[in-house]
């Protein structure tokens, strides 16, 4: 049992590979999370314009990318774009797919946050001469973000988990590297290593999240 799943020699041998996979997972997360946040913020700011010409296309966009399975989107970009004469690497495809998919989710969260700030405050800000964007930046967004912090964090957790999809398009992230190691060693130990590492890096986030959620609940009481 231990020889199969926790083989010490294989742990030692696979360690450098798995470690480089971990770095790539972290790097990927550091790219796709800000990208998704940026995309979401742009969508939410557009949604705050409340104009039919902006509203309907925006709703269609958000609905589309929330309904579209991210794995399918990723494979479509990776396998489909070359036929359109555009050959992007796996990494770029992951970045684009996440921008589209997680951006739509972050967008809905930001939008809920923005809606949670009473409009009277914006009117007060505008009446003192602040522009639309200034009122958004100084009055609405700080409160909006604080109000939806648990949701933002929870979505970020999902995004980091989803980076393992990169393995499908040969991005050498944690899961991909672990499977490489597995296929050369003919042993599942590297996969177990990857699983343990995922758990170890995500568990503190889960803890933090549940503390935030409890605090939000207590604050509401």
């Amino acid at each position: 049992m231990i020889q199969t799943f926790f083989n010490p020699e294989i742990i030692v041998a696979a360690w450098p590979i798995v470690l480089s996979g971990l770095w790539n997972t972290i790097l990927l997360s550091l790219i796709v999370v800000p990208l998704g946040l940026l995309g979401g913020l742009i969508l939410a700011l557009l949604a705050s314009i409340h104009h039919p010409l902006v509203r309907w296309p925006l709703m269609a966009w958000v609905d589309f990318f929330r309904a579209f399975p991210p794995l399918v989107l990723l494979v479509l970009l990776f396998a489909g774009l070359p036929f359109a004469g555009l050959e992007l690497g796996g990494f770029a495809c992951v970045a684009i797919a996440f921008f589209l998919n997680t951006g739509a989710y972050y967008g809905e969260i930001f939008r809920a946050g923005i809606d949670s700030v009473p409009n009277g405050q914006v009117e007060a800000a505008r009446s003192t001469g602040l522009g639309r964007l200034q009122a958004m930046r100084y009055v609405v967004l700080p409160q909006a973000v604080r109000n939806v912090l648990p949701d933002l964090l929870s979505n970020t957790l999902e995004v980091v988990k989803l980076t393992s999809l990169g393995s499908v398009v040969a991005v050498p992230e944690l899961l991909y590297e672990a499977r490489q190691a597995q296929s050369v060693t003919y042993n599942p130990t590297p996969i177990v290593m990857a699983a343990v590492i995922y758990f170890l890096i995500l568990w503190p986030v889960v803890r933090l999240l549940s503390r935030l959620e409890n605090r939000a609940l207590a604050g509401r009481r």
């Binding site: 405050q121 003192t128 001469g129 602040l130 100084y138």
Partner: protein, 247 residues
């Protein structure tokens, strides 16, 4: 020209979809005048005030404030709004900032003052409303009356030429109303031009220069407080004032 009009609203119409809320309102306000607007709920008082600083876009008509055409596309509306303070029924303070932060925001981001300058001006404004010692409190730590005074400080810090008040004391517990009226009275004494929508008839009687009665999107009549309260010319005015005084 006898005395300068600082506010000149002409032929203001406002539709909300099928709803015709303002039906051709003319309002002129002289410098240093305190004009009181009364009228039944839904008569368009708030909408009229909000048309004056273009928080609401009139469907037609013209609004001049301090010589600026408020409705012209060429007017820098954010610049123009600094000259028109507005105080709301629900205070609308920014809860994530201290009282001082509430007052300095526009000073810094609109008027372009440095942080030190803005804070000095803000502390003076807070002093004028009797809250110098509450500068570092957040709205959540202040009473309703104190919050409304911070809101007034936020407006007066920008040295507006006109102040609009939309039911500034309606959301307050009765025992806190006095402190806000006190601040409004001292503002008036300092020569501020004020347009006030309120049900505080006592305040209207001894502070207002003119009372305007609105009903159903129109100004029905206007005149000195004594005339409007004691000898209103119109039946609707009489009915409304009788109703208010019974409370």
């Amino acid at each position: 020209m006898s005395q300068k009009h600082i506010v000149e609203a002409r032929g203001i119409h406002k539709h909300f979809g099928p709803l015709h809320v303002l039906k051709g309102v003319d309002l002129e306000v002289k410098e240093r005048e305190l004009v009181f607007i009364i009228g039944p709920s839904g008569s368009g008082k708030s909408t009229l005030l909000r048309c004056l600083n273009r928080l609401e876009e009139p469907t037609s008509g013209s609004v001049m404030v301090d010589g600026i055409d408020m409705l012209s596309p060429k007017t820098d509306i954010n610049h123009a709004r600094q000259r028109i303070g507005m105080v709301f029924q629900s205070f609308n303070l920014y809860p994530h900032m201290t009282a001082l932060g509430n007052v300095t925001l526009a000073l810094r981001k609109v008027a372009g003052k440095s942080r030190a300058e803005a804070e000095a001006i803000a502390r003076q404004a807070l002093e004028r409303v009797g809250l110098a010692d509450r500068a570092d409190h957040t709205p959540g730590q202040l009473s309703g009356g104190q919050q409304q005074r911070v809101a007034i400080a936020r407006s007066i810090a920008l040295e507006p030429r006109v102040m609009l008040f939309d039911e500034p004391t309606s959301a307050l517990d009765p025992e806190l109303v006095g402190s806000v009226l006190e601040v409004m009275r001292s503002l008036r004494e300092s020569g501020m031009t004020m347009i006030v929508v309120s049900h505080e008839m006592g305040f209207a009687r001894n502070a207002a220069d003119r009372v305007v009665f609105m009903d159903n999107g129109l100004i029905v009549e206007q005149g000195p407080p004594a005339a409007i309260f004691e000898t209103p010319a119109h039946e609707r005015t009489r009915a409304f004032i009788g109703q208010i005084q019974r409370h």
